[in-house]
């Protein structure tokens, strides 16, 4: 299967800032691909380069087999949805959507009636036909977003690019629109790339996720893959809440800096960083436990604890039922066990699985166990 878009060794520099560093990426036909990363990771620059809004300093963007450098932005047949929509403020919704069809050279331009018909059909698809005569200023954020989408689709692009498509919307609208866009993509199967800094959005919406950091791709994979098998400490940290613990590997044992034993990992001796997500930590009541429950709050079906441990504090999450069964309260002393976790020995290397060192039910008695 040939790639719909192929990015080969693209680099981009803004002044002294290296925004993109030798990026290689294939976008598959019909897929919905997320570019995920914190601000400044280069994801928007990459999207703008694909659209032809920015030129790379080095490297190529291929559409099918053709080098896109030959084409101006307007000739790439790319639909671009801007972060703040960039609707033409002096045109009605209808005129906005029709714009791309009206600026075609007269020889190739569609007849007026055909343009009107297509615009109406697009507005119906985004469920905004009733707002065709409004001005952009009279629309809500979610409506503007959908107008921008209809406008981008009007030119029947080969690729749809969306820059932080839900960034400017409030949480509820964002969630609805996310579902709606996913359903739309199922229908149209248009190759789409969207930029986001929100991991939930990327994981829920995308077929594949590209995690970016500091101008480089950290990992490319399915939503489940990047979450469960992060390729680097950055990916693990960026995708969801986690606890970071500095440690050493000593003969397959993972030892924290203060000497407590965290678990086992098949890794060579040396310093390392272990990550344990809140729901991967277990608490048990122990009178001699070195850990203290500092704070507990119920959050829907979950209880979130802040557990003080030496100088640091760790986040722990568990189902409400379990919390009730444990019968613990704030200020109680507890011991902590990591059911599993991720150990990174060197930057940029994939994780080594962290395993508990002994059966979980015997934990309390083991000297050196975390928190005891």
């Amino acid at each position: 299967m040939t790639a719909a878009i192929e990015i080969r060794g693209v680099s981009k520099r803004f002044g002294s800032h290296l925004a993109l560093d030798n990026i290689h990426l294939d976008v598959r036909p019909g897929e919905l691909l997320a570019l995920l990363g914190p601000s400044g990771s280069g994801k928007t620059s990459l999207l703008r380069i694909i659209a032809g809004l920015e030129a790379p300093d080095a490297g190529q963007v291929l559409f099918g087999a053709e080098d896109a450098a030959q084409r101006r932005a307007g000739e790439r047949e790319v639909g671009f949805v801007f972060q703040h929509y960039a609707l033409f403020r002096h045109m009605t919704v209808f005129e906005n959507v029709a714009f791309g069809l009206r600026v075609v050279p007269r020889a190739r331009r569609l007849p007026r009636a055909v343009i009107a018909e297509r615009v109406t059909r697009l507005l119906e698809m985004v469920q905004l036909a009733w707002l065709a005569d409004r001005m952009p200023a009279q629309l809500s954020g979610g409506q503007r977003q959908r107008v921008a989408l209809a406008r981008a689709l009007a030119i029947e692009p080969r690729v749809l690019l969306l820059d932080e498509p839900f960034g400017a919307l409030d949480a509820k609208v964002r969630k609805e629109l996310r579902r709606w866009l996913r359903a739309l993509h199922e229908d149209v199967k248009l190759t789409s790339v969207f930029v986001t800094h929100d991991q939930d959005e990327a994981l829920e919406l995308a077929d594949r996720v590209v995690v970016m950091s500091a101008g480089r791709i950290e990992q490319i994979g399915g939503p489940g893959e990047v979450y469960t098998a992060p390729a680097s400490a950055f990916v693990h940290e960026f995708l969801g809440d986690t606890n970071r613990l500095d440690c050493r590997i000593e003969g397959g044992r993972v030892v924290l800096t203060d000497g407590a034993l965290l678990g086992r990992a098949d890794a060579p001796d040396g310093t390392a960083v272990a990550y344990v997500r809140p729901h991967e930590l277990d608490v048990a009541a122990t009178r001699e436990g070195a850990a203290v429950i500092r704070h507990a709050s119920t959050f829907g079906p979950l209880v979130r604890l802040i557990v003080g441990f030496g100088e640091s504090s760790l986040d722990v999450a568990m189902p409400v039922e379990r919390w009730v069964r444990l019968g613990l309260a704030v200020d109680d002393r507890v011991s902590l066990t990591a059911r599993y976790g991720a150990v990174f020995t060197r930057p940029g290397q994939p994780a080594v699985l962290l395993r508990p060192c002994i059966p979980m039910n015997g934990l309390r008695a083991v000297p050196g166990a975390l928190g005891a």
Partner: protein
């Protein structure tokens, strides 16, 4: 604003300050305008009209209109070009260019006239050459236009640059990504978005062009019926002790100023509506 309430609680500051401000505005701004009208009509509307239909005055009005038309055209094209490159691109020397665009504002208008005489005057650099080819620039229309262009050059650019910077390039990028050409993008997206500010700039440039005195007085030669613009006509009449006639012509210029200010207010209001109702997020 609750802070206003706080500050003015039981205080005499408010009425005293307002009264003082009204006094200052009345004396500094109001009286000059009032005396123009009073003096113009001091001997009744008959004298007033007679002063306006005087052939020399009619010629001065015609010349003023021609000068304004020529110089405002140059200023407008320059202003759009300057705003486009300043607001849409970053490049080396951009801030120097910004300073140079502002330069005519801070130079004395007399210098704007002086440089024309130094270049094109009878004893100027190009004087002998121009005389040999029988071209007159100084003491003629071209010199007046050149001097006026010099002083009005920044007006349109000044109105457009901050606005275009604030509006950003996203709508233009959207138009280009939808396949519009550069010209289509400018005409269908940029121009409608800046139209009121552009009109404001043209209006202000026009007011300045019609009212310019220092620069024009140096290059005009004060030839009655030929190189006198309206402000120069005011000067000549005033110095001839034809006070009512001088104020009559002055009243036309004052009216122009008032109309300009009124239109500017209206345009600014419409542009700010256009700006706040942009298509992007609130």
């Amino acid at each position: 604003m609750s802070s206003v309430a706080l500050r003015t609680d039981g205080s005499l500051a408010r009425p005293i300050l307002i009264a003082l401000a009204m006094l200052v505005a009345g004396v500094v701004l109001g009286l000059p305008l009032a005396i123009v009208l009073v003096e113009a009509f001091a001997r009744g509307p008959g004298t007033y009209l007679a002063a306006l239909v005087d052939p020399d005055t009619i010629d001065a009005i015609a010349l003023t209109l021609i000068v304004a038309l020529c110089s405002v055209s140059v200023t407008t094209v320059f202003g759009i070009a300057a705003a486009w490159c300043i607001a849409r691109f970053t490049f080396r020397g951009r801030s120097l260019l910004l300073t140079l665009i502002d330069l005519p504002f801070s130079v004395s208008p007399v210098i704007a006239g002086l440089v024309q005489v130094l270049l094109f005057g009878r004893r100027g650099w190009l004087g002998p050459f121009l005389a040999a080819h029988d071209v007159r620039i100084v003491f003629a229309l071209p010199g007046i236009v050149l001097a006026t262009v010099f002083v009005t050059l920044p007006f349109v650019a000044r109105e457009l640059m901050p606005l275009m910077q604030e509006q950003g390039a996203e709508e233009e990028e959207a138009a280009l990504s939808l396949g519009a050409s550069g010209w289509q993008t400018f005409r269908r997206v940029t121009l409608p978005n800046i139209r009121f500010a552009l009109l404001t700039g043209v209006l202000l440039a026009n007011a300045r062009a019609m009212g310019e005195f220092g620069a024009v007085s140096v290059v005009s030669g004060h030839i009655r019926g030929a190189t006198n613009t309206m402000p120069l006509q005011v000067e000549i009449l005033f110095n001839d002790y034809q006070i009512e006639a001088a104020f009559a012509v002055a009243s036309v210029l004052a009216l122009l100023a008032l109309v300009t200010l009124g239109l500017k207010l209206a345009l600014e209001r419409r542009q700010s509506v256009l700006l706040t109702t942009k298509g992007s997020a609130p």
